[in-house]
Symmetry: D2
Subunit: 345 residues, 4 copies
C-alpha cells in the first residue's frame, strides 16, 4: 500500500481526490491537512459518507512526512511553494495541483502570479503532468506539476495539430467551466443567485493566468515540428456556466491551405488511439460537457465548417476529473508503476 | 409623484424594489443608501440596464430625509431599528422589510433576535404589513412592518382555517425556499456548488426566527374565533432548494371531525374572493413554485387526503415578490391610497 | 384600445407576449388560438395567475379576424405562412414571430427551411422587425417579420462594424442560449436530466437556419458601406446551456489594421446612443446573460485583446425578451405610433 | 465472472447499472436490450466513454438467456412481467427493478397498477430486495424485486420505529425527488423550462403508487412488534425538484408518550450500526440530498422538536443509487455471495 498525505484537503480537488483514492486498491490515506479545520473530521466539512468522513484533519505543521510515500498538494498557488519543497526535502514524492511548478520559466511565473518563485532548483526538476505529452518523464519524476483544467482541455484539443505543424494565426478558445473551478471560498461570483441562470465571460482579452501554460506546452510541441514562435497565438475566453462540474472548450482554428479534413482526423486518431483517458468522437459528433461529467476522460470532437478553412475542436473534460484530481491519480499511477487507469474507470 | 428613499438598497430585496418602483407611475427614487458601495452607481453593483443602474448610492448619513415622503428600509434585523426611528422622527412614512417592527411583544423580539429592542414606543405604532389581514390599519399607518417571506406563505395558507376556529393539534409546514431568501452576502450555504443539486433542511425542529411571527398573527385570528392558546402549534421545517427565487409551503393540518371538505373550501373562497393578490386554485390543482415566480401573488391549493382528516394546503409565493418587495409596494399603495396593485401586475 | 389576437399562444413566446401585453396600457386581448388546447383556458396550460389564465383558447378556425386590429403569429415556421396571409387579406396588421417572412429571397427560405414559400407577394411587403435597423419602414408596415433570437444578438453586436465597413474575414460567433429557445414541445434535447449540468454545441459548422438572416441583414448594411460580398463570413456556433431564458453571443472579429480601439468604441456609441433598448457597457465590462434576463434590452460589451487585432463583442439578450416577444411588442409600438418602450421597461 | 444481461438498458437505471457493473470486478456484460435502439451501440444513445459506449443493443427477442447467469430487468411496470418469467423459466436469476414483483398481494398490485398480474406463482417466490430487512431471504433468492426509490427512503427512515412498535397515528412523509426519477421519456413534466426554477408537489393526497410498498413492508415489521393494523397510516407527498439525481424524505412522526429521545436514537443506532450502506448522522445534523448524491448509501438524521412529541426523520438517498441501480447491485452481491458493497463504494 502506498501511504498518502494531502495538503489542503478541504477544497473541491481534495474532496474529489479522496473519493478517487478510496476506490484505489493500493492507496492508503495517512493524513489530511487543513489550517482552518484542524481538529475536525473530514465529515464535519463535507456531507460525505463515514468511510470518507472519518478521516481526521490536522494542521500542516502536524503532518508527519516520514509516514507517507507520496503527497498531493491541493493548496492555492504561491502557498504550495514551501510545503512542496519540504516534502521533497524529506524524500517524499509530490504531485502539486497548484500552478507553482507548472511554468518552466520562473520569470513568466512571477509575472503571471505576481509572486516570487522561491524554489527555482526544484522547479527545474518538476515535470508537467500531462501523461499524453510527458508519460516517460512522469514515470521517472519525483515532483509532478498537475496541469490546470483549462490548459488540459485546450492542450489536448490542439496537440495533434501542433505535432503536425498545423497551428497558425489566431486560435480562439471559447471555454465554458462549471463553478467548482472557481474554488470553495465563498464570493459574489460563486453565489448561487449570481451564477444561476447566467453565463458570464470573465478575464477575456487579457493574459489569463492559464494562457502561459498553454503556450509553453503547445510551443514545445511546435518547436519539434520546426514551427517558429509567433506563427500562432491563442485568444482564450473563459466563461462561467451554472454547472457544478464540467468544462467544454470550443476551439476555432484556421487550417493551412494544404491540409485535408481526412489528414486532420488521421492525426488526431493516431495521437489518441492508444490513450486510455482521451477519446475521439465519431465524425458528425460534437463533444458536450455531458460526455465527461463524473469521469476522468477527455472527449474530443472535430467539426469542419464547409466552405471555409475553419476547424472547430470541441474538447470536454470534467474540471475535477481529467482537469484536476483524476489527472493527479493518473499521474500517481504512472509515477508508481500502476496500471494507468487504476481507480479511474 | 411620491419621493422615495431606500436604506440598504444593494441586497436582493433592494434590487427587486427598484425594479418594481421603476414601473410604478407615481414613484420617484430620490436616494439609495449603501455603506459599502457609497460613491458607486447601482449599476456597478448589479448587472442591470442603465435606467436602473444610473442611480447613485450614498452613505445613509448623506441621505436627506427632508427630500423624501416615504422610506423603504431593506437593512438586516437589529440594524433597522435606528434608521427607522430617525425617518419617523423626521415625519417620513416608513415600510421596514426587516423583522425589527413585526413582533408586538418586545420580549419575544429580544429572545428571538438576541438583541435589545431600543424603540418600544415606535413598535407600538407599527402595523404588520399583510393587507389581507390588516388593510384598514395599514391605510392609516405611518410605519409598516413588512412580513417575512416564510410567514407570508404560512399565514395566508392558514388564515381561513384560523378564522373559522379550525386550527387544531400539530400543524406541519414543510417549506421550500429559493436561495435569494438567504441574502446576498456570500457564504458556504449560498455557494453555487453547495446549493446546486441539493435540497437541505435547516433550522428544523428549533424555534426558527420566523415562527413567532406566524404564531402572533394566526394567534390573533384564533382569539377572534374564541380558540384558546395552546390548542394548536406549528412545526415549521424550512428547506433550501436550488432555485434563485420562489417559495412553496406544503402545510399539513388535521381537520376537526365536524368540518366538511366543502366547508373548508368555502371558507378559503370567501376569505380570498376579493383579494387582488391571493388566488385559490381549482379542486384537483396543487400550488407549485412556478405559479408565482416573478409575480407578486400568492397561489393556494387545497388537497384533502381520502380516508383521513388531513388537509394539505399548498401555498406558493415568490419570496422576493409577495414575500418581500412586492408586498412592500402593495403596502405603499395601501398607505398612500393608490390602487392596491399599481405597478404589481 | 388595440384589439389583439395571438395565433399559437401556448408556446413560450405566446406566454411571454401575454405577460407583456397585460401590462401594456393600450392592448386588449381578444382571442388566443391553440389547436391542441382549444376549449381550455390559458391557465389550464400554464401555471399563471387568473388575470392571464382566464383567457379562453380557441381553434384558429374560430378566431374572428374582424374583431381584431393586430395579430401576433407565434406558430412554427412553415405553419405561419397561411394564417399570416389570411390575416392580411382581412386587413389586419401582423407581427409574425416565425421565420416565414424574414428572408427576402424565397429561394434561400426554401433551401433553408425545406418548404415551399407559398406567399411570395406578401413576402415582398414584409419588413424585417429590428427597429434599430428598420424603424421607419416598420412604422409604415402592415406585416413585420420578427427576427430570430440568435440573429438579434449577432446583428446588433456587429451592425456598427458593418456600417463602418470594418467587417472582414472570418467572424466567429460562439453563442449560448437558454433552453426555452428550443420550444415547449418535449424532446430528449430539452429533457431536464439531459440539459442540466451540461453545455452542448449543436448544429455547429453547418448552415444553421439562423445564418441566412444574419447574412441578409449585415450584408445589406455592408453594401451601404461599399463592401463587396465575400469579404467576410460568419462561423456561427450555437450552444445549449442549462438556463431557462437568456442568450449570450461571444463574437470574435479581426479588425482591419487601420482601425483604432477608440474609433470602434465611438462607432458603437454613436449607433446606439439614442436606442431605448440597446445599451453599451463601459470599457472593461463584458456582457453576461444576467445583464438582460427578464428584460427587453440588449447589452453590448467591447473587449480588445492586447497585442492582437481581435475584438471580442459580447452581446446579451433575453431570448424571450428582445429575442422574441419583447421585440414583437416593440414592433407593435412602432407600427401603431406608441412610445417605443410602452409596456417594456 | 458472472455473465449479465440487462432488459431495457436505455433508461437512467440502465445507464447507472452499466456504470456500476463496469467497476465490479466479477461482472461481465453479455447483452443489453432495447426495442427502440436495437442495432445501435449504447454510446449512440448516451454520451458515455467508449468503455461503456461500445456495448451493442439488441432486441429482447435476440437476447440469449442461455448465455447469462443473471438478468437485471429495467423495463416499466407491467412490461416486466413476461421477460422476468422467461428468464426464470430458463433458470436465470433475476433482479427486477420494476414494481411488478414487489407487492405480495396481487389484488393490491392490480388495483394500484391497473393491470392484471399474470405471474402469480412467480410472485410468491419473489423477495423484496431491501437487504436491511430481508438479507437472508435475498441470499437464497432467484428472483428479487428491487424496491422503489421513494419506498426505500421512507422504509429505511421508519423501520427502527416500526420494529420498536412506536409507529402511531398519521405519519407524514414530505418527499423531494430529482427529475431522473420520472424516467427518460420526454414529457412536459420533465421539460427543462417547466422543471427548472420550480418545486412541484404531484399526486399528493391520493394513493400514490408507491404507498402500498411502504405499507406492506412497514406493516410486516409492525406485526412482529404486535401492532394492530390501522394504528398508523402514512400521508405521502412527493415533490419534483430541479435536480438531476437525489431524494430526500422529511418524515414527521408523533412519538408515543413513553418514548424518550435517547431511546429512539438507540433504536436507530442498533438497527443500522452494522449496515454497510445506511448510516446515522450525529445529533444536531440533518440529512440533505448532498449527503448521498452519486453514492449508494442512505443517510438518516433524527431531529426532535422541543416541546412536542414530534420526531422529524430526514432520510436521503440517491434515487439512482440506493434508490435503484446501486440497490440492484447490492442485491446481486448478496444473491451471489460477494462482499455486499463490491463495486459500490
Amino acid at each position: 500500500m502506498i501511504k498518502i498525505g494531502i495538503y489542503g484537503a478541504t477544497g473541491y480537488t481534495g474532496l474529489e481526490l479522496l473519493k478517487l483514492l478510496q476506490r484505489h486498491p493500493a492507496a492508503e490515506i495517512v493524513w489530511l491537512t487543513s489550517e482552518n479545520s484542524a481538529g475536525q473530521q473530514f465529515g464535519d466539512v463535507f456531507t460525505v459518507p463515514p468511510a470518507i468522513g472519518k478521516h481526521a484533519l490536522v494542521a500542516s505543521a502536524a503532518a508527519d512526512l516520514s509516514a507517507v510515500d507520496l503527497v498531493f498538494c491541493c493548496l492555492p498557488h504561491a502557498v504550495s511553494l514551501e510545503p512542496v519543497a519540504r516534502a521533497r526535502a524529506a524524500g517524499v514524492k509530490v504531485i502539486d495541483l497548484s500552478a507553482d511548478y507548472r511554468l518552466k520559466d520562473p520569470a513568466i511565473y512571477e509575472k503571471t502570479y505576481n509572486h516570487a518563485h522561491t524554489q527555482r532548483e526544484l522547479l527545474a526538476q518538476a515535470v508537467y503532468g500531462l501523461p499524453e505529452l510527458h508519460r516517460a518523464e512522469i514515470a521517472g519524476a519525483s515532483l509532478v506539476a498537475n496541469p490546470g483544467c483549462y490548459p488540459t482541455s485546450v492542450i489536448l484539443g490542439l496537440a495533434p495539430l501542433a505535432h503536425a505543424g498545423w497551428l497558425a494565426g489566431t486560435v480562439i478558445s471559447d471555454s465554458k467551466s462549471g463553478i467548482s473551478g472557481a474554488g470553495r471560498s465563498p464570493s459574489l461570483k460563486t453565489h448561487f443567485v449570481e451564477a444561476n441562470e447566467n453565463v458570464s465571460p470573465y478575464n477575456i482579452g487579457r493574459v489569463h493566468r492559464h494562457l502561459p501554460e498553454m503556450e509553453q506546452e503547445l510551443g514545445n510541441i511546435c518547436k519539434s515540428a520546426n514551427q517558429q514562435a509567433g506563427e500562432w497565438k491563442i485568444v482564450f475566453s473563459p466563461h462561467l456556466t451554472p454547472i457544478s462540474r464540467g468544462m467544454l472548450s470550443t476551439i476555432y482554428v484556421a487550417l493551412p491551405e494544404d491540409v485535408s479534413e481526412a489528414g486532420v482526423r488521421a492525426a488526431y486518431e493516431a495521437k489518441y488511439a492508444d490513450e486510455p483517458l482521451v477519446y475521439m468522437l465519431k465524425p458528425g459528433q460534437v463533444a458536450t460537457m455531458g460526455h465527461t461529467t463524473n469521469t476522468n476522460s477527455c472527449a474530443i470532437g472535430l467539426t469542419f465548417v464547409p466552405g471555409t478553412r475553419t476547424l472547430i475542436v470541441t474538447s470536454s473534460i470534467d474540471n475535477l476529473g481529467k482537469g484536476a484530481s483524476g489527472a493527479a491519480v493518473q499521474n500517481m499511477n504512472v509515477m508508481l508503476g500502476f496500471a494507468e487507469t487504476t481507480g479511474l474507470m
